[in-house]
Point group: C2
């Protein structure tokens, strides 16, 4: 009765693999299909190892949620260039892969459905949401100022709420039924909608 051979993963790596495997399982099988055993199989280890890296399965799932939020907000906050370019890129990034795909929304929805149940996840969500909206609001403040438009806090807040809603809503539509839209259609609709909302060109006419 020989024991399986294995190798010891370097510092922190196994932990990351387990989190990634957790997300894979949640997106493929749903939260209730993401069992400790299934996750372990996906990560190529045995189930017992989970408890060596995490206090409980719930804690691992919470950390996995942090990773999702991070990946959804991270890319959008790395935009560079002048305010107009940054605004355009912000919109485009959020409505094209890899941010906009069915895996992302499966994960997002799975966690959102638990926000009411689990206060820990609720807190993680709120932080992520506020950070995302702040990024957008700062971006809009810069943009409006550059265009010589009123950019007071209250105005920018309202625009940020509206555009955040618009982008999120289109993101959901695209993730869930991308095949119902033509290539680039959602991004184009988002761009012209934002122009209408702000009453300003954002430089998409040339395309």
């Amino acid at each position: 009765m020989n024991r399986r051979s294995f190798h010891r993963a370097p510092e922190g790596e196994r932990r990351q693999e387990l989190i990634e495997a957790t997300l894979d399982c949640i997106s493929e099988f749903g939260l209730k299909g993401a069992t400790v055993r299934q996750i372990a199989i996906r990560a190529g280890v045995t189930a017992g190892l989970v408890r060596h890296y995490f206090e409980s399965k719930d804690q691992m799932v919470a950390e996995a949620y942090r990773a999702v939020i991070a990946s959804l907000t991270e890319k959008a906050s790395q935009v560079e260039g002048d305010p107009e370019t940054r605004l355009r890129d912000f919109i485009a990034i959020n409505l094209t892969e890899p941010v906009a795909d069915s895996r992302s929304i499966s994960l997002w929805a799975a966690f959102i459905s638990q926000v009411r149940v689990d206060p820990v996840l609720s807190e993680i969500h709120r932080e992520g949401y506020l950070a995302f909206r702040k990024t957008l609001q700062d971006l809009l403040t810069d943009f409006l100022a550059a265009k010589g438009k009123p950019a007071d806090a209250e105005t920018c807040r309202a625009f940020a709420i509206a555009i955040n809603g618009l982008v999120d809503g289109l993101w959901v539509e695209g993730c869930l039924a991308g095949d119902l839209f033509r290539e680039g259609e959602l991004v184009a609709i988002a761009m012209s909608s934002v122009e209408a909302l702000l009453g300003t060109s954002i430089g998409t006419a040339k395309q």
Copy 2:
């Protein structure tokens, strides 16, 4: 060892109670917390009864999802009056209770997270989404025509996608963090955003 007394529910009623109890449990405990036993307790019956009304738990859950979709779309499609009023009501209804509350989004998210996993739920979702967007697109067609604006199919399609995104996105924001907004703020933002998008007043100036 006496058996519990009970009463026989009238035609179809118990079935409805079980579906309602299923939704209660999903919104409160999440999909994996909505066990047959928990649902039965909520409905005030014993677990075995579930299989008397449904072929399986999965089938009961699928029917519960149909009920959610119906309640989300039903109210919004019952708007009446002239096109302008109907558009305004459509927006307001979707962004105020009972459509916009934390229970609704918990349910919506729980099912959305399963769309990738379960083809049955996927089909139910797609039907619901298309019906909802069609309602909105028809409404916009009427509205634009009444305003003497171009109302060709392609234009209305794009507007319907954008406004659907906007309303859905604001709905999500409001459901998840209603306390971050002032009373009526989301509706007000939605109204002025739609006016900006369509380039037309929708009669909210008087407020």
